[in-house]
């Protein structure tokens, strides 16, 4: 509810913060849906970048409407992820992660290499979508777009978890249980690839929105460090629950913006928070909430 009321009371700066927080939350939740399957993607930023560049190229170079740009971004990321997933998901553990890491690096290097994609300096003046004649050119109106899309994707991914499809994914977490699942007729490979593709389609779409927010894209915006950031958000939040990544991304992004001018201090604080959480709360911050909730309930009962 707070999210809907915000634009009425907040300043433009807080709109900026809110937009960045929502983007990060969506990215992290999408990453989470892959993590749940037991796969670690170290190159999700590559798919964000792919989506962003697709949208920018479609709208700036080919003069297509920004709405189609966003859609195209999702389709492109999803399709490429499907192909990549089909090839790499048979690799377990670290091999998969390194393959996706390699992909992330290659995507960025690819866009860097060609002037049509802006080369090293990128492309500016990315147009924003026009909603019934009203261009979403200020933070307030753009916020609505980001909010709607984030909520949509979060709801989608959340619901998917609780369908039969989602429950099945949990069975794929380890190699042994995957084999068991296959023995009862579950097409594990197809399922995994589909999930990976969906996750990447989501981040690709949001990447397009992100590029429209910045009105700019270049190879330095989404790097390996972005991928590790998302991972940290997910881990600090906790990977046992859907709300873990939401909590982690929201909290750490806010923290990051506050410590903004501090440069190295920001990284140090991030890292220390991460270490404390990982070592003392392996389930992430969200498990803390669980404990609090359980305690509260048991107190109520007594």
């Amino acid at each position: 509810m707070a999210l809907v009321l915000m634009p009425a009371v907040a300043t433009t700066y807080w709109m900026h913060i809110a937009i960045v927080v929502l983007l990060n939350i969506t990215y992290t939740v999408a990453l989470f849906s892959v993590l749940r399957m037991g796969y670690l993607s170290l190159g999700h930023a590559g798919f964000i970048a792919l989506g962003a560049y697709t949208c920018v190229v479609l709208t700036v170079r080919l003069d297509i409407s920004p709405w189609w740009g966003i859609l195209g971004a999702g389709v492109m990321s999803g399709t490429v992820a499907w192909g990549l997933g089909a090839m790499t998901m048979r690799l377990r553990g670290i091999y998969f992660s390194l393959a996706i890491f390699a992909f992330g690096e290659i995507v960025v290097a690819f866009f860097r290499a060609f002037d049509w994609f802006g080369g090293p300096s990128g492309i500016a003046n990315v147009p924003r979508p026009v909603f019934f004649g009203h261009a979403l050119n200020d933070h307030f109106s753009f916020y609505w777009l980001v909010l709607c899309m984030s909520l949509f994707f979060m709801a989608l991914l959340y619901r998917l978890q609780y369908t039969r499809y989602g429950a099945t994914l949990l069975t794929l977490k380890t190699e042994a249980s995957e084999r068991l699942a296959q023995s009862v007729g579950i097409d594990a490979a197809r399922l995994k690839t589909a999930t990976f593709a969906l996750s990447c389609a989501v981040v690709g779409t949001m990447g397009a929105v992100h590029a429209q927010y910045l009105m700019f894209i270049n190879p330095q915006v989404f790097t390996f460090l972005t991928s590790t950031d998302l991972l940290i958000y997910a881990m600090v939040g906790g990977v046992s629950h859907f709300w873990g990544p939401v909590l982690g991304a929201g909290l750490l992004t806010l923290l990051g913006e506050q410590l903004f001018s501090a440069g190295y201090w920001k990284t140090l604080v991030y890292a220390l928070v991460l270490m404390v959480v990982i070592l003392s709360l392996p389930g992430g911050l969200v498990s803390l909430l669980d404990r609090v909730r359980d305690k509260w309930f048991s107190n109520l009962r007594n």
Binding site: T11, Y13, S121, G122, A124, L214, F216, F260, S261, G263
Partner: protein
């Protein structure tokens, strides 16, 4: 009784402090530059330049009210995404209307925001027409641009050192690419002098190993390797590795921070015959020396390259604001563009670029050329022309 008197004494003191704090408003100047990372020396230098200028400016009057300078730093790490975020924060949240933005590469992203908000951009970065043009009236380049150096300085240097075969090695980004373009143009213009452009190698910005690329370039036998768009450390490494491969010619660089000691540390004897613009081997004015002394005393290290220019920019902008009698950036821009300034550490300063850029937003100051001989900067007797 005693308690009451102490309490009232404290209250009076607090009241006095509060009114004191209100009496002086601050003129906030943002510093959106790398304050961490390999390019941190640039950003930190700007901070210090502003601080030193603030000491000299003290409290000043604008339209009857008094102000003092306040630096608001934003670490951008030369990353466009971070610079956009910083500018958003500065303009929308921190009420900062004037600021240094460093980096030609990040400007693509921030120019729309600058135009939208009329932000007064004290631009520190090379580049050329892409940033300095008629569409960006509040963007002033407070340092020499690469084209300026190329058009007005380079031909003289080539003549002086009898350079004929010219090669370029630089980063594969906007800056590097535009420098190569201009260099080729200059070489064509100087064909009569026997000058020929023989080769270029564009490498990764943060690369450390240039041996293979140098090998390729050295096969063409250049007299000079132009390393204009590369940062100091890179220039040192290029020089070192080129000498190791047997190169005996010159290097030219226009980077802001080029301590001879730093280059010698990396390249040893190989640093000899590096030519640079903007390096003063002898102080051009008393002010220059004074600032260097104050910097050493206050920060306990040698003056960082961007300090002098940041000092001058801060004082000049404050002067322009005072003369314009307002903080309105468009009006101050007009006032500034048509003024000259006597407190620039390099000498008398003015603005130019009407013809070349379509806008009078390019600073004009005296500039030196120096060459390293025996590990120290020595002056190269070459005069720089003015930019039209």
């Amino acid at each position: 009784m005693k308690f009451v008197s102490i309490a009232s004494g404290l209250m009076a003191a607090c009241l006095a402090l509060a009114t004191q704090a209100h009496a002086q408003e601050s003129f906030k100047i943002g510093n959106l530059s790398p304050l961490s990372g390999p390019a941190a020396a640039f950003g930190i230098g700007i901070n210090r330049g502003i601080e030193l200028a603030a000491e000299d400016v003290g409290t000043f009057q604008v339209a009857g009210k008094s102000y003092k300078l306040e630096v608001v730093p934003y670490d951008t790490s030369l990353d466009p995404g971070k610079t956009v975020a910083a500018l958003n924060r500065a303009v929308l949240n921190d009420n900062v209307k004037y600021g240094f933005i460093l980096g030609a590469a990040v400007h693509g992203a921030v120019l729309p925001i600058i135009r939208q908000n009329g932000f007064f951009d004290i631009f520190m970065g090379a580049a050329g027409k892409e940033v300095t043009n008629a569409e960006n009236p509040t963007v002033f380049r407070f340092m020499a641009s690469s084209d300026q150096l190329y058009y007005t300085f380079t031909p003289e240097i080539y003549k002086k050192l009898n350079i004929k075969r010219v090669a370029f090695m630089g980063p594969n980004n906007d800056l590097g690419r535009s420098d190569v373009k201009v260099l080729k143009e200059i070489a064509t213009r100087l064909k009569g002098q026997g000058v020929e452009f023989v080769g270029e190698e564009l490498v990764e910005l943060n690369a450390k190993d240039f041996q293979a690329s140098l090998l390729r370039l050295l096969a063409k036998n250049p007299d000079v390797i132009d390393t204009n768009a590369s940062p100091t450390g890179t220039v040192g490494l290029i020089a070192k590795q080129a000498r190791e491969l047997g190169y005996k010619g010159y290097f030219i660089s226009s980077t802001a921070v080029l301590e001879a000691k730093a280059l010698v540390n990396v390249a040893g004897k190989g640093a000899d015959n590096i030519v640079a613009y903007r390096i003063w081997s002898a102080a051009p004015t008393k002010l220059y020396d004074q600032i260097a002394e104050r910097h050493q005393a206050k920060y306990k290290e040698a003056t960082l390259g961007t300090v002098w220019e940041a000092y001058a920019a801060t004082r000049w902008v404050v002067e322009a604001v005072q003369k314009a009698g307002t903080f309105d950036t468009k009006k101050v821009a007009e006032q500034l563009a048509n003024s000259t300034f006597q407190f620039h550490p390099y000498g008398p300063a003015s603005w130019g670029g009407d013809k070349t850029y379509g806008a009078r937003r390019q600073i004009q100051t005296p500039l030196p050329a120096s060459i390293i001989k025996d590990g120290v900067w020595t002056p190269l007797d070459v005069r720089m022309g003015t930019l039209e």
